[in-house]
């Protein structure tokens, strides 16, 4: 009955952008159709994180997901894939500012990035910006080369990406 206005037919898909901002830094951006408190909640409650961190389309599954989102709290994600052994990501939250900012370490290796996610609300939408700052150019280059990344937990990303690309075969030609 009350077909509410807000649940407008999914508008144009919001686009995810990825940019290498500097020698040591990646930046990922995306806008969400919801207030910052809700987007923030989805990043900070394990039961919600679980629902989107390992998208089915990538062939991955989240075997476990612990996230104690407060300053000094730890997280640990274990990702599985039918073709390989589970991989573990872990680290510590070093900054937690409700609804606006989250910072955590990636402790799988000494060369792991520090990830900062900011949530900026405007007109009921949230602009999310994720920075991944590596300790050195070499560390970031290593991730690209898929080597140091193996120990930095990016391996899973890599594997997921590979898998995803296969799934999205059609778009591969446009790389």
């Amino acid at each position: 009955m009350d077909a509410r206005k807000e649940s407008e037919p999914t508008p144009m898909k919001n686009r995810t952008t990825v940019e290498r901002k500097s020698e040591r830094e990646w930046v990922v951006t995306r806008t969400f159709n919801g207030p910052a408190r809700i987007v923030f909640e989805a990043w900070t409650k394990p039961e919600l994180l679980k629902r989107w961190w390992a998208p089915k389309s990538t062939g991955m599954s989240l075997l476990s997901c612990e996230a104690d989102v407060r300053v000094g709290g730890r997280y640990r994600f274990e990702l599985g894939h039918e073709a390989s052994k589970p991989m573990v990501f872990f680290g510590r939250y070093i900054e937690v500012t409700p609804h606006s900012r989250l910072v955590w370490t990636n402790d799988e290796s000494d060369d792991g990035a520090v990830t900062t996610v900011t949530f900026e609300e405007k007109d009921g939408k949230t602009l999310l910006v994720m920075h991944e700052l590596y300790p050195s150019k070499e560390a970031l280059d290593g991730v690209i080369a898929g080597m140091a990344g193996m120990e930095e937990g990016m391996s899973e990303t890599f594997a997921q990406l590979d898998e995803l690309l296969v799934t999205l075969g059609a778009s591969v030609g446009s790389l």
Binding site: W52, K85, G146, D162
Partner: protein, 121 residues
């Protein structure tokens, strides 16, 4: 721009699914090494290491060159192309995650609305 074919990704995926091979890549990221060096470092036979290097080579992740009696291995990546490809792959991964996150956000919004209504009643 170079075209990346899925089979290449399949090959690199299976190449990277092995812990020893990932270790070898990491090692080669620090310095080139001979197969003998690698075999020693990873406590395995020459034959075993040759196999691993072969898989990596096939996936285009490693190149080898024989000088005299020594076969030297190095990372076989085309950096710039790799970076462009990596960015695209990374974007696709996060794009897929965020599409799922959209659903969660939508659901939470609806829930908030329903809860809000209940409270007012």
């Amino acid at each position: 721009m170079v075209q990346y074919v899925p089979t290449g990704f399949d090959a690199s995926f299976s190449a990277l699914s092995d812990a020893t091979r990932r270790g070898v890549l990491e090692q080669l990221g620090r310095a080139d090494a001979s197969i003998t060096d690698l075999a020693e470092k990873f406590h395995m036979t020459l034959t075993g290491m040759k196999k691993h290097v072969g898989v990596l080579e096939q996936a285009g992740l490693v190149t080898t060159e024989k000088v005299g009696r020594v076969r030297t291995c190095k990372l076989g990546l085309r950096r710039l192309e790799e970076e462009a490809a990596w960015i695209e792959r990374y974007r696709q991964l996060w794009g897929a995650r965020f599409d799922e996150l959209d659903k969660v956000v939508e659901e939470l919004k609806q829930k908030e609305k329903v809860d809000g209504r209940k409270k007012r009643e």
